[in-house]
Amino acid sequence: MRRIFFALSLLLFFTLQTFSQTLTGKVTDTDGKPITDVSVLKKGTRNGTYTNNAGDYSITGASNAVIVFTSVGFISQEIDVAGRSSLDVAMAVDNSNMSEVVVTALGIKKQSRGLGYSTTNVNTEQLSVNRTSNPINTLQGRVAGLNVSSLGTGPGGSSKIRIRGQSSINGQNSPLIVINGVPIDNTNFNGQTNGVKGGGVTSDGGDGLSSINPDDIESMSVLKGAPAAALYGSRAKDGVIMITTKTRAKGNGIGVSYNMNYTTDTPLDFTDYQKEYGQGENGVRPTAPNPTSGEWSFGEKISGGMTHTLFNTTGIPYVAQGSRIKEFYRTGKNFANTITLSSGSDKGGIYLSLAGVTNDGILSNNTFNRKGINLGFTQNISKKFSFQGNVNYTNEKNTNPPNIANQDNSIPTTLMALANTMPLSVLNNNKYDPATGNEYIFSRFRNRTNPYWVMAEQFQNIRRDRIFGNISAKYNILPWLYVQGRFGQDYSSRDEDVNNFPTGQASRAATIPGFVNGIFTQESRRFRETNMDFLVVANKNFKDFEVTLSGGGNKMERQLDINNVQVTDFVVRGLYTVQNGRAKDPVYSLIQQGVNSLYGSGEVSWKKTFYLNATVRNDWFSTLSPANRSILYPSVSGSYVFSEHLKSKWLNFGKLRLGYAEVGSDGDVTPFSDQLFYAVNANTINNPSGSAVSLGSINGSIVPNANLKPSRVSETELGLDLRMFNNRVNFDFAIYSKITNDQIVGVQISDASGFTNTRINSGKSSNNGFEVLLSLVPIKKKNFTWEFTANTAYNKTKVLSIITNKPGERITVGNHVFNGELRYVVGQEIGQIAGYGYATDAKNGNQRIFQANGLPLRTADLVLFGSALPKWTGGFLNSFNYKNVILSVFIDYKLGNKMLSGTNFNAIRHGLHMNTLEGRVGGVIGQGVNQSGTPNTVATPVQTYWEHLRTQQIIESVVYNGGYWKLRQISLGYDFTKLIPAKWPIKGIKLDLVANNVLMIKKWVDNIDPESFGFGSDNQAGLESAGMPTTRGVGLNLNVKF
């Protein structure tokens, strides 16, 4: 009914248009060439037309109107007709995007025209419309040189951001996140790196960025290289993501808007397992009750008949089961609502938003809720004095984030390795052993937990309250001189309780009589970072010169205190509380650190053509010894707008830029790492005389080093920025070379030293690469525009030195949960996957060598299989605008990386992988030669053959090209604004339909999405172990403005 009314109103509206006098004219550029498809609109109405191929237009009823001429790439003009019947217009090329203002380091706004380094402004609407669980994930593939990956853990999950690759050998590679000029905490709580004490839990506990509501973001820019980020000194090694949140309405007046986003996440199944042979071992299906082959599919050929369940005497049909993923997981739902109220006037304004996010993860007991309030304000008290600020409060509750990337207690691992004829319903119906109430053992691998049991018995609750914000005051002493003071704080409290090992888990040993087994952990942590800074800025023109000088200082302090109590075994079964625990292990730790800084910058420009900028920053660190404490970071950059001299018809703007900077990273010197500490165990033990005695030991396995200093990056960057053909062809290119010196290497030392690591300043790596951004407007017609953007980045990081620069010197930085490791090797690309391969015979064309029993021989030592880090990242965006309909299609890719797939290793070992079909009858005859060089003819039983790979740790067959091409996103938007009657209280309606992770165009790894990684740490890059399935998101975004 309402829809009909709406349509009728529209119809009326158009028919009531008055038709009278006609206005004609020609629109040309400043050189007199006609411009086609210029929009000619009578201001304040919907009465308009477009110019034709000759640039001519004709419009009626416009004799006393103001006409608005607009065309992409030209400066819009508004001309009062004042009774004329003919009006020719010459439109000037719009280089305004060249005077685009970007937020640079310390929150200083500058015109992008003069920048001597690369920054990229992010389309913030994308963040809001194409919402992903963590707002930053939307950026994947969209910014050249920015590599975003998530763990696929859904709502509340973390994402990993790397700008221009990773440079640090010890894994500190996250960019600094700055909101409104003040850094915030982005601690990552993903499973393997910051896992819950006591083990058993490898869930993804999220990161700091996820508490930002994308609707509140006004602008976001990425400072990619050291020259851009130099003013952040020791915090700038990995680039900076600068986020500015809204502090007032866009124009004057009051605005209310409502944004609703609803998406569903459908789990994707990439498995292509064999379904010819079912559960069983050595070619035999289970025929006796309680078989133990629940994880093996080396049984008989599936040809009907019955088999036995894992749990009792009941028989079940011996038939292949369907998709585990589709059966086990549910469709996730994400529902986000934001209401904003904003006002603005000449004096300032406010912005207030209330947001609520409700997510149901694909794991049926996983939910994530976030409520947030964001208040921004800006006020000019007088001509000289102004202040602004923002406060963001969020309350998050993450319930049961899934365990990933582990062999034990991990739902994904069990699901991905389960025998292919075993119905999930059998597992679901037999979670509990009827005799004991414990987990019913279904596999001889007891730590392959029954997923339904985990769902029923394990819980993890994470609650976080976070408030961050800052307030700044600015005083203009003189027209060319101002001072600014700012105070910012990021405070969060995070509480977590989790039963690491629920009572009765099959793999846990029973405890002493009188108690039941299990582990429960309760943790609360409070984090606070404060930043106080001041800035003095002077800006003055001297004839053709413009000079800007600024100086300031910052005082940063950070404090983290953690209360953690872990209890083992319980008195009352099922009651997971600290007081119900038998053995208690409480830990309290207090970590403090601070950095004081002074900095300054000077910029000189001449005729807006030549720019020269120099900065210097000095940091003083609490974590370093007094002798090493003070470090200076300089930078210099310049740019030349050569289009000022090279006048050309097609060149609208051209700039060459060059920058050099030295920055650092203090992230790798942790507080108190200069001394050896001891620890006393929480529990005593009785000595032979029966008295309780304590145990104490040296804390940790790292030899402390009191002489550490931050690592140091020197980066040179050269760039070219071109805007051509009336800005229809834009090209931005950057090439950089970055050397990271004095890296703090967590050097693995011989464990015969009593310790496993020490930290030394010796690592050196180089990052070399380039970034290209090309944007085109191939078609620009009256009703139709096609815009195309392509970005690509290439980065290669090489390890130059670890302890010395001897080629081949190596350290192991991470291990896969069972076989294979990640190494850094001098002279090689960073992040080498290493493991045993197949031994080959150099004399016989590198054929594989088989033992006399037909089993493959492994290499004598671990071999390198290549770097786990992508060399190429990028994407292609096509957007089509037809009338008010916008369609955008986005493709992205990551290429040039290897991955070790644990899921496939399990699939091979358990007889699920397609490869294991070979030799089911008569055994596998491996292709190659025997030890004497003649072709191998010995057949080995199929199960023995494939399990041999696991026993011998031969990973070669599961090292894959980890790259992919994906149709990442399609969105279809329609702007209803023009259809709304002026009298309606609604000022705008926009509806977008979005689909994320639409289609896998190309991948190389079997059975999984190469993006479904379980590890977040750089030190485990490329080491895949069953994680959550990736999902396809489909949904809508509705934005209503009042």
């Binding site: 071992e281 006796a288 033990i685 304590s694 026993t951």
Partner: protein, 510 residues
């Protein structure tokens, strides 16, 4: 005016710069962890951490054919004659959690006369730990071992075993002598509650063990060391046994493994069971259990458990989970889950003790010493039967359910005389039984003595790439981490000792 402004600006700048590092040192003080600790507590940690880890089960205990698993993966070791090449044995755990702490305790007490007893206790325990390591691997970092913090030696050089043994002997001799019975009693000691007399016996028993180790390579030194140890007094009474007491908080690692995830994966071997069975050894029913008719881990219930000796069936060596299935049928079993296990509810509980030096072991070593004529007090036969008796009496310490009655013991002793011509075989076969669960010791003594007579594990033969056909594993290979980070020193050791293979014999095993 301008000048004043300039000066004041300069002054402000200087003031700011100079105050920039104020308070930073105070921030970097750890308020929640101590920087010193009573060294006796650190020695306690070393003692607890010396309890043999599960790797000892996968290698030592499987190599000497006492327990094996038919399963591969992380369990592959002695059962498959496999050079797993990851972390084998006790290397990492001993260096980083035993010797690291003994080293610290020794260093902190060295110059404090009042802690002299503790200092010497630390030395003794450290000598024990080093002996375990060198017996497993051969040449190891000794003089530079575990000195990562104290001497900043991150990549220690390896010492030849031929030089390590004299040093261990010297350490044990000195420390044992220096222990002062009337000195300070370190009552917080977890091993002996600071009882110096017992510590002395512990040291001397280790000395006896070290001396006997050298039988093949240096009989003279072996003899002298054994004689010295005997003269100083070794453990001959179970009350003096050196064992690590475990409780619910500080569990036995192997007990934990066999009561947890690997409960249904390890079985007593056929050679072990058959030996005990054929001699009517009452220890068989004290150790073993068979879950009759079990076809899965679920089937291994208390109700189906049977501990009577005649019913026990050991798992043959050299089977994997393919070949064990028909073998179980041949053996008349429901499945491989039906083979006998070391009883996880008695001898291998989570809280079961871990014996490191026992009266039984010392008595049996003395039996051999007497047989060789190195000691003349007491007879070989007496030491032999005392050694068996001590082990049988010791069983009750594991669990009341493991206790062997005096009558069963005496019946066995009466039926087990020491026969002329087979003394060494009999003594060392008994040593094999009485060192059950002490993997490193039973592996070392098997190589030293050549007894018991076992058939080499046939797994993968005749072309097993890791172990030549018809031979036994003679040592463990170094952890791959050593090749990664300490290659220069490792390669020097390999050059001196021989290829880093399971089949390479160590110095005292030539």
């Amino acid at each position: 005016m301008k000048k004043i402004l300039n000066i004041s600006v300069l002054a402000i700048v200087l003031l700011t710069v100079s105050s920039c590092d104020k308070g930073l040192s105070e921030l970097n003080q750890n308020r929640t962890s101590p920087t010193t600790l009573d060294p006796v507590l650190i020695l306690n940690t070393a003692v607890l951490n010396a309890s043999f880890a599960s790797k000892s089960l996968y290698f030592d205990i499987a190599i000497v054919q006492q327990m094996v698993s038919p399963n591969g993966g992380v369990l592959a070791g002695g059962n498959f004659n496999a050079d797993y090449r990851g972390e084998q044995g006790l290397w990492g755990s001993y260096y980083t959690s035993v010797i690291k702490n003994t080293k610290d305790a020794i260093l902190k007490t060295k110059d404090i006369p009042a802690r002299s007893n503790l200092y010497n206790m630390g030395r003794i325990f450290q000598a024990f730990a080093f002996m375990v390591l060198t017996d497993e691997y051969g040449d190891i970092p000794y003089s530079e071992g575990a000195a990562g913090y104290t001497d900043q030696l991150f990549f220690p050089k390896y010492d030849a075993q031929s030089t390590i043994y004299p040093k261990i002997i010297q350490e044990l001799t000195e420390a044992s002598t220096a222990l002062n019975v009337s000195g300070v009693v370190e009552s917080a000691d977890v091993l002996y509650s600071g009882n110096i007399a017992k510590w002395k016996k512990f040291a001397n028993s280790l000395l006896l063990r070290a001396g006997m180790r050298l039988v093949k390579v240096d009989a003279t030194k072996a003899r002298a060391t054994v004689q010295a140890a005997f003269a100083a007094g070794v453990i001959t009474d179970n009350a003096d046994n050196a064992y690590i007491r475990h409780d619910a908080n500080y569990g036995n690692p192997i007990g934990g493994t066999l009561n947890g995830g690997e409960a249904a994966n390890f079985y007593l071997t056929k050679p072990f069971i058959d030996r005990l069975k054929s001699t009517n050894d009452p220890r068989l029913s004290a150790i073993a259990i068979r879950y009759v008719g079990a076809t899965s881990g679920n089937g291994q219930t208390v109700a189906s458990g049977n501990t009577t000796a005649p019913i026990q069936i050991g798992m043959p060596m050299g089977k994997d989970n393919g070949t064990i299935v028909p073998q179980a049928t041949v053996d008349g079993l429901a499945s491989f889950y039906d083979y006998s296990q070391a009883d996880r509810r008695r001898i291998l509980k989570v809280t079961s003790p871990c014996f490191i030096v026992t009266a039984s072991q010392s008595q049996l070593l003395l039996a051999e010493a007497a047989f060789r004529g190195w000691i003349t007090t007491g007879t070989t036969a007496q030491y032999f039967s005392d050694g068996i008796r001590a082990h049988m009496d010791q069983m009750a310490v594991y669990d009341a359910g493991c206790a062997i009655s005096a009558s069963a013991r005496d019946t066995y002793l009466a039926a087990t005389p020491l026969n002329a011509g087979t003394e060494l075989n009999q003594i060392n076969t008994q040593y094999w039984i009485s060192s059950f669960l002490n993997g490193p010791e039973v592996f070392a003594n098997f190589r030293r003595s050549g007894f018991p007579l076992l058939t080499p594990n046939p797994y993968g033969q005749p072309t097993n790439p890791d172990v030549p056909n018809g031979t036994f594993i003679r040592r463990l290979t170094y952890p791959t981490s050593e090749a990664s980070v300490n290659a220069t020193n490792l390669n020097a050791a390999i050059a001196a000792q021989g290829a880093d293979l399971l089949s390479t014999r160590i110095w005292w095993d030539k």
